[in-house]
Symmetry: C2
């Protein structure tokens, strides 16, 4: 039986082999650039883990699995324009290194190239794969637009927030697992259950991201701890705090949100203290664990190869322990 | 036998029936908006004309034909951001009426929706249809990037220009015809020949656009005559004039290109006079006609229904007589 590290090496080797085109170079260099910036390559790994729930060896579908990684990087390239982000994985974003025109067009090209990789699966499975991929791709766009809308809204409900992260992040993890299972020939009821495993875990992981941004150990965390607090980002923690705070805490929280001139360390400490008083850390942890539990439960009940289930559960458990 | 007007009415009725989604409205309203702005709907018409080269009635593929119209409008939405265009068909562009974020994301969604429409064809034909569509889509992006690059280049060769308009405009017309023929079951040699008919005519039509922008009758022309001259747009006419001009004409042309403060009417008259002295109008007309001739010749030799060939030739001839 294979292990996660071997699968990751296969994915990495296959990414190195990808060739998208050469001319005009303004269109293709940004694609190679963003694909070379690294990342956890979690989505193609989930495709392979989905495949291994029914098949013993995933070598035959590593290239096809990259469709989701190319798609994911397309969304990053376009999201970075919208967010006016200067850096991506510590390197200049494409619209900064080149310009917005290049980032729009290279991103468009990547979306088409994702379909090119999908096209390499068994033709009999293609209509279903594209149908599922299209639905996922549209939902990811919906999630990004809803996230953009949140920036201008004064109040966001917990339900609306969970729906947003489900669309923006979780459905692609669900699709990745289902796509792998589809290539392995798993029937629809099992595939749908597996999709839901990915969605539940995806929501859990996004809540974990929100939590780590405030409570991570700065020595181990890749970014600045408290970044979301500094930028007033509407994460689960802030939304829940705004819902629960009353009296003095409410006043203090509102005042920090309104301040345009402040010391970052001071703001992070003050808002974190409010979160602590409201029990936000525990509330977030509980909600996060309820999503993980649901995911593990669905996986446990899935009719699939025990070795495959163990591998996927092990990977999820490993991700749950991350500190960055 | 059907006629062009009937086909256009079928297309228009089918476009009215399209439903893309509702929430978030910032994602879907711009799609309905740009699709409602009208236009000649030439691309889906070419799909139907391609289909009628082998089949008698195109009613069964009108909806599938809209894939190319949705794709075309996606490119317009993104191109308008890059060109910072304020108007599209006389109405505010999406990035002006909403914002750039909305225009990027709605455009991305439209590209996915184009694949959704492709998905409605006979599943057996899907791998080939998507393969051809992907290649075309990538080439259109390449053409747009090359066009963007031209803006910053002092010298562009005629060959480079023709290659750019082939990619940016002509290949989609070629694909539209081939896609229709594919759905009708035409075999590959004929389909490839038909694709080339579309490409040749597409290059011809773009040269015609360049020509009309300078020599159209203002009373009949939808835009300002001379718009390309005013903005120093590198059209075939300007590229050829820069290649041919010497001595005083060269000096005068360079001087008009460098001026930032000028009277528009005066510049249009002066540059047009230089074009006239260099015989640019005739050179462009000859080149344009050579592309049309090649297209008609390939169509004439095509093994297909005579009524279908007549209908397509008639439509092309009608387009060649347009004055706007």
């Amino acid at each position: 039986m294979t292990d996660i590290k071997t699968l990751q090496q296969q994915i990495s080797a296959e990414i190195d082999k990808l060739q998208f085109g050469t001319e005009p170079k303004e269109l293709y260099e940004p694609i190679s650039y963003i694909m070379s910036l690294g990342g956890k390559r979690m989505r193609p790994l989930l495709v392979l883990l989905g495949y291994l729930l029914k098949e013993e060896n995933a070598a035959a579908v590593v290239r096809q699995a990259l469709a989701v990684e190319v798609f994911h990087n397309f969304t990053l390239m376009h999201d970075d324009i919208m967010d006016e982000a200067p850096l991506r994985r510590g390197q200049p974003t494409v619209h900064e290194k080149w310009n917005s025109t290049v980032a729009i067009l290279s991103g468009d090209t990547m979306l088409v190239k994702a379909y090119d990789l999908l096209l390499e699966i068994n033709p009999k499975l293609l209509p279903e794969a594209i149908r599922l991929f299209n639905q996922t791709a549209v939902e990811v766009c919906e999630g990004q637009q809803i996230d953009m809308n949140f920036e201008a809204e004064s109040q966001v409900s917990v339900d609306a927030y969970i729906n947003m992260i489900r669309l923006k992040t979780a459905v692609l993890l669900g699709f990745s697992l289902e796509y792998g299972a589809l290539m392995a020939g798993m029937a629809e009821p099992g595939r749908k259950q597996l999709y839901e495993v990915g969605v539940q875990m995806g929501v859990g992981f996004q809540l974990m991201d929100d939590l780590l941004d405030v409570y991570a150990d700065q020595a181990k965390f890749g970014k600045q701890v408290g970044g979301d607090i500094i930028s007033n980002k509407k994460t689960f923690l802030l939304i829940k705090a705004l819902e629960l705070a009353t009296g003095k805490e409410k006043e203090a929280l509102d005042s920090w949100l309104e301040k345009t001139d402040f010391d970052s360390t001071e703001k992070v400490e003050a808002v974190t203290a409010i979160y602590d008083q409201l029990g936000i850390r525990e509330l977030t942890t509980n909600l996060m664990n309820s999503y993980f539990d649901k995911g593990f439960e669905l996986l446990d009940r899935l009719d699939a190869r025990p070795e495959g289930k163990e591998l996927l559960a092990g990977f999820a458990a490993q991700l749950m322990k991350r500190e960055k």
